[in-house]
């Protein structure tokens, strides 16, 4: 296998990994937007918060799965609390009000995290059983932890798909996305459903934040940098569609990773970086031009 082919293969793996991370965060965002018509920027704070809790819990217990559980559980509690105390009052407001309120809450959470954990970056080791590398190709040994992230992400995507199509909750969520007035008229407790969706979304963001924590430097800015990409994902995928978010997340992950590698090689060091940082937005613009509702719109 030539080295270019090896590079391409490795970049596709990297792109998939970025894609599944984006999917975990974006799926919650798109569900909440689809069913409750709520644009929730605070979602990024759940991702950050989970990473901080995970790092702390792993430091205390030394047990990776316990850290994952602690991160998800505490984030779900936080999400339920914000839903009951704040989000409830925003459901019927227009998007601009929601944007301002949830952005304000995001700033509030970021500052609260700084007060609790301090300004410096935190870091966490990968668990021993995932610390090695796997020889995928003769020339390529790939970190096991990155492969694990991709596999977990794909498994969660499959579970979500299954739950969405084969459980009562999934059916109610899909019904709510299409027509929530009718759903309420049929006697489904819509507010309870909202809280459930909100918590599931936060749990997925928490899983993403926790899994990425051993790879990156955990700091308050980590959620903000990925939030914009997630908004791109839900725009491309179609609001409210989990399937759309999945396809769009993988596409955005691949476009971003491959663009970062091959655009500078083609266009040089001056134009290349500018083009590669634009690539996902160009991709979004083209998608919207061809399909203004996104790839898989959940609304009729």
């Amino acid at each position: 296998m030539t080295s270019t082919a090896t590079l391409l293969f490795e970049q596709i793996l990297n792109g998939l990994q970025l894609g599944v991370m984006l999917f975990l965060i974006a799926s919650g965002l798109t569900l909440v937007l689809g069913i409750m018509n709520l644009l929730n920027l605070t979602h990024a704070a759940y991702y950050t918060f989970a990473a901080y809790v995970g790092v702390t819990a792993y430091g205390l217990t030394g047990w990776f799965l316990a850290a994952v559980a602690a991160a998800i559980a505490s984030t779900v509690i936080l999400a339920a609390a914000t839903d009951l105390l704040v989000m409830r009052y925003l459901y019927d407001r227009d998007h601009l009000t929601q944007l301002l309120a949830t952005f304000g809450l995001l700033l509030f959470f970021n500052e609260a995290i700084t007060m609790l954990w301090g300004n410096g970056a935190m870091q966490m080791a990968r668990p021993q059983w995932l610390a090695g590398s796997i020889n995928l190709l003769p020339e390529l040994s790939y970190p096991a932890y990155r492969l694990a992230i991709t596999i977990v992400g794909l498994a969660v995507a499959f579970l979500l798909h299954y739950a969405n199509h084969h459980t009562l909750l999934g059916m109610q969520i899909r019904a709510g996305t299409s027509n929530k007035t009718m759903l309420a008229a049929l006697g489904v407790p819509v507010h309870r459903l909202y809280t459930a969706v909100f918590c599931v979304g936060a749990a997925l963001a928490a899983l993403a934040g926790m899994m990425v924590a051993p790879l990156i430097s955990v700091d308050v800015g980590m959620g903000d940098s990925i939030l914009i990409l997630c908004l791109v994902v839900i725009t491309i995928g179609g609001v409210g569609s989990v399937r759309g978010a999945f396809v769009a997340a993988l596409l955005v992950g691949l476009v971003d990773t491959l663009g970062r590698t091959f655009l500078p090689q083609t266009f040089g060091f001056t134009l290349g970086p500018a083009l590669s940082s634009m690539s996902v937005y160009v991709f979004m613009a083209v998608t919207l031009l061809l399909r203004p509702e996104g790839l898989f719109s959940a609304h009729q």
């Binding site: 590079l7 990297n14 792109g15 970025l18 935190m122 590398s133 990155r146 990425v212 500078p264």
Partner: protein
């Protein structure tokens, strides 16, 4: 009924306060410390200020027998906020010196109003290249270092190593990142096998690491300050490519413990390290450790040095702080023994000083940076010939 009495009393107190503060102002050195104290980079500004305040404290709060009146301002890492704060420092606080700015974009913006008001700007950290070259300015002293110098030092060191015939270079895609690579390439004579500029605050570098793997360079050189560096170094070490890491301002006192074992053995170039063996640094490092319970970073050290430099200007004025020209002349002629080592100003009012090779080393109580040897003794920046100032 008694409100007019109160009002008169209030006026008297106010008048008294105004006269005392005005008379106080005449015999005090007024310093405006403008730095980044909020936002994600606030830690750097805080450390810089800690060093400066420790310096003042160790001089007994006086410079050249005059008490110091310190005003602290936050630039929020925004050039427009920096300019606003500088105007306030000059117009209402009537400061004699402005110092403390850590980020070059704020420095550039702040230098203009200070030059117009002929207020001395003792730029205590990285100095941007325009101010060292064609736009040099009589009231601006680049008392920290010219921005390219750290990377030039690493370029020189790597060129001298026989086993390094090629390098792969990476930096964030902003002016500072591009300047770093320009400075590095000015001295690095080997083959640059790849050059990548990444998005600012990019959290994941797997795509870049794959390209390094494919290019098979003898070494990598990068500039990734703060949390970008922590992410990059940890991910690079995880990939186990066996390629040595060289950097400037990335693997350093403030980040090396967060990088942990991933940084072990990584080389860095720096104008200061806490183990430098000179009298000024021994006294400073000990006092800093005692006061804050940790080793001083370059931010603290350069803040401390700014006090020594301002003191020299005050002494040159012989107590007349409105005599800006004699303060300038004094600084241009001075030979300093700073905690970073000997330093004097070049014709462009930027330092001629040493740069050192440092290495991340595991020790008891975690990682630390150790000085290996000097690289430049001393170094001048490349822009001085473009400066036509007298």
């Amino acid at each position: 009924m008694d409100s007019p009495v109160h009002a008169r009393m209030g006026a008297c107190v106010l008048a008294l306060w105004l006269t005392t503060s005005a008379s106080y102002a005449q015999d005090a050195v007024k310093i405006g410390f403008l730095t980044t104290l909020s936002g994600p980079q606030a830690e750097l500004g805080k450390r810089h200020l800690e060093g400066f305040q420790l310096g003042l404290e160790m001089k007994g709060g006086k410079l050249g027998n005059l008490p110091v009146d310190l005003t602290i301002a936050d630039d929020k890492l925004a050039p427009e906020v920096g300019v606003e704060q500088v105007r306030k420092l000059v117009d209402s606080d009537k400061v004699n010196f402005v110092t403390g700015v850590v980020f070059a974009n704020v420095t550039m913006a702040a230098s203009k109003p200070l030059a117009q008001s002929k207020t001395l700007f003792i730029n205590s950290f990285a100095g941007p290249s325009p101010l060292a070259g064609s736009s040099c300015d009589p009231y601006f002293f680049g008392a920290g270092f010219q921005g390219d110098s750290t990377y030039e030092a690493m370029g020189k060191y790597m060129s001298e190593q026989k086993e390094i015939k090629s390098a792969f270079v990476l930096a964030p895609n902003y002016q500072g990142g591009r300047d770093a690579i320009t400075g590095f390439k000015r001295y690095f004579k080997g083959d640059v096998k790849g050059e990548i500029y990444t998005k600012i605050n990019q959290p994941d570098y797997s795509g870049e690491i794959a390209q390094i793997r494919a290019a098979k360079p003898d070494a990598i050189f990068f500039l990734y300050p703060g949390s970008m560096g922590i992410s990059f170094v940890r991910q690079f070490a995880d990939a186990k490519l066996g390629i040595p890491m060289y950097s400037g301002f990335s693997v350093e006192e403030l980040t090396v413990n967060a990088m942990g074992a991933a940084a072990n053995g990584a080389y860095s170039s720096a104008v200061y390290n806490d183990d430098l063996d000179n009298a000024a640094n021994r006294a400073f490092a000990e006092a800093y450790q005692k006061k804050f319970g940790r080793r001083p970073s370059i931010y603290a050290a350069l803040g401390f040095d700014a006090v020594t430099i301002i003191e020299a200007a005050v002494k040159a004025s012989k107590g007349n702080l409105s005599d800006v020209e004699s303060m300038r002349a004094g600084l241009r002629a001075a030979k300093f023994d700073l905690v970073r080592g000997p330093m004097h100003f070049n014709t462009n009012q930027f330092p001629i000083q040493n740069f050192y090779l440092v290495q991340a080393t595991a020790g008891d109580g975690g990682m630390r940076m150790k000085t290996i040897r000097p690289i430049f003794t001393p170094h001048k920046d490349a822009y001085a010939p473009e400066c036509k100032m007298q």
